[in-house]
Symmetry: C2
Subunit: 262 residues, 2 copies
């Protein structure tokens, strides 16, 4: 196998004739110009949050982040603003910006939105199904089944779900899914040790794929729905294990030690 051949962006777009124009344009625009400081800050901070490196409740000081990223406060601040709109950061005026505590209600909402969009897209997905898209997804699933670590699997997982939307012609709905997904991914990273094996997720994907390929809408919807809902099981376990990360019991706590005076 040559795993990188269908893994890298170029081949993805070469083969992806059904990928809609909006997505191409977005990629083109993004690659034409070096990423702005704001984009760098956004990506960096989002990564910190989603992977749990900055856990829920942690203080995200504009000044501190600006120093760490070697930027001025302005782009950092704008990144935090976007993350706040996404719900991953809570800005308390004149007090501080914090990594949002995990609000179980919020996660369920995110789950609801994601499920609503992805399940609803299956109908168009089946209509637009072609041998090419089938072959693409098939290769994606082969790769997933060969994965052993989450780090390998997660990008492919994301690509699978994104591909279904793209095939349905709703690629730009991915933005909405993604902003919901931030909350879900954060829960997944915390529930890491994996109550459910990667192989099972891949098997879920395979079942959805087969149902879509055979035009069985009801089965596809059922399989996708149950696949997406596993996150919620994780959620309960995580909350039982680490209640301090959740918003119900307590307010945010200061995590970072106060820096020494100059």
């Amino acid at each position: 196998m040559a795993p990188s051949s269908w893994f890298d962006q170029a081949s993805w777009f070469d083969q992806a004739s059904w990928f809609d124009q909006a997505n191409r344009a977005y990629q083109a625009a993004a690659s034409a110009r070096p990423p702005s400081s704001r984009e760098l800050a956004y990506e960096h901070i989002r990564e910190l949050i989603v992977t749990g490196e900055e856990p829920p409740g942690a203080l995200l000081s504009e000044n501190d982040l600006a120093l760490r990223l070697d930027l001025s406060r302005t782009p950092v601040r704008e990144a935090l603003l976007l993350l706040a709109q996404e719900g991953l950061v809570e800005v308390r005026p004149q007090r501080g910006s914090y990594v949002s505590l995990i609000d179980p209600g919020m996660v369920r909402q995110a789950q609801f939105i994601r499920e609503a969009i992805e399940v609803a897209s299956l109908e168009a997905c089946i209509e637009n199904w072609t041998p090419e898209s089938g072959a693409y997804v098939d290769r994606l699933l082969d790769a997933q089944e060969a994965c052993t670590t989450r780090e390998e699997f997660y990008p492919l997982d994301e690509r699978f779900h994104r591909a279904l939307l793209a095939i349905a012609g709703h690629a730009s709905a991915w933005t909405a899914v993604q902003s919901a997904k931030g909350h879900l991914d954060r829960a997944r990273y915390l529930g890491l040790s994996g109550y459910r094996a990667i192989s099972e997720y891949a098997a879920d994907h395979r079942r959805v794929h087969e149902a879509v390929a055979s035009g069985d809408l009801a089965t596809a919807q059922r399989e996708l729905r149950s696949h997406l809902r596993f996150v919620l099981d994780d959620l309960d376990r995580i909350q039982a294990a680490r209640p301090e990360l959740f918003s119900i019991p307590a307010g945010p706590e200061r995590r970072r030690a106060r820096p020494a005076r100059r």
Copy 2:
């Protein structure tokens, strides 16, 4: 009738015992502190765009807006950033910020997302249905049927859809709906003279209400779906009538005359 008694925010929240905590908290936080300059700028500019006062393609200069709103560029800039993420503004680095041209694909996506979320919420809506919520919606519909102008109707329309989500326990999904709704509302404002009368929209609402109240999920879904899809018909008519507002044919044009030199 005492129209203002169920129209104002206070009574809405007093009666809305099923309204979720997130929403209360949001309202409380919003009312506790006077709105920030950024929020003012955001609301103001969004209003300009959605109502069509600044038509698609219009230049929105940070400097110009800052002068008009008597603010510094920072809050204006941040408002534009949020609007850009929402898709209502297109920022072209070093060139200018423009009111997004109406992208029919984008509107369809917004429609798809909105429909997916609202239709999916009906199931929980029926489960959670109570006499109180029924009575609230009923009064809302009475008020809608008494409306004669769009200005009266639109807020009530929004409240109806929001109430269905709230009853379903998915009130916070409204955020996602709303950001999609910006695009749809813009289309509605342009298609103004109303190919479809307000009374018909109100009648749609009534049918959805009755189906939900009687627990007829399938009918409720069908009615809501067709109700939401009428926007798309408008869309085609508007595009035929005013193609210059759409993104397919041409690039953005300068609308504002260049100011005289000093």
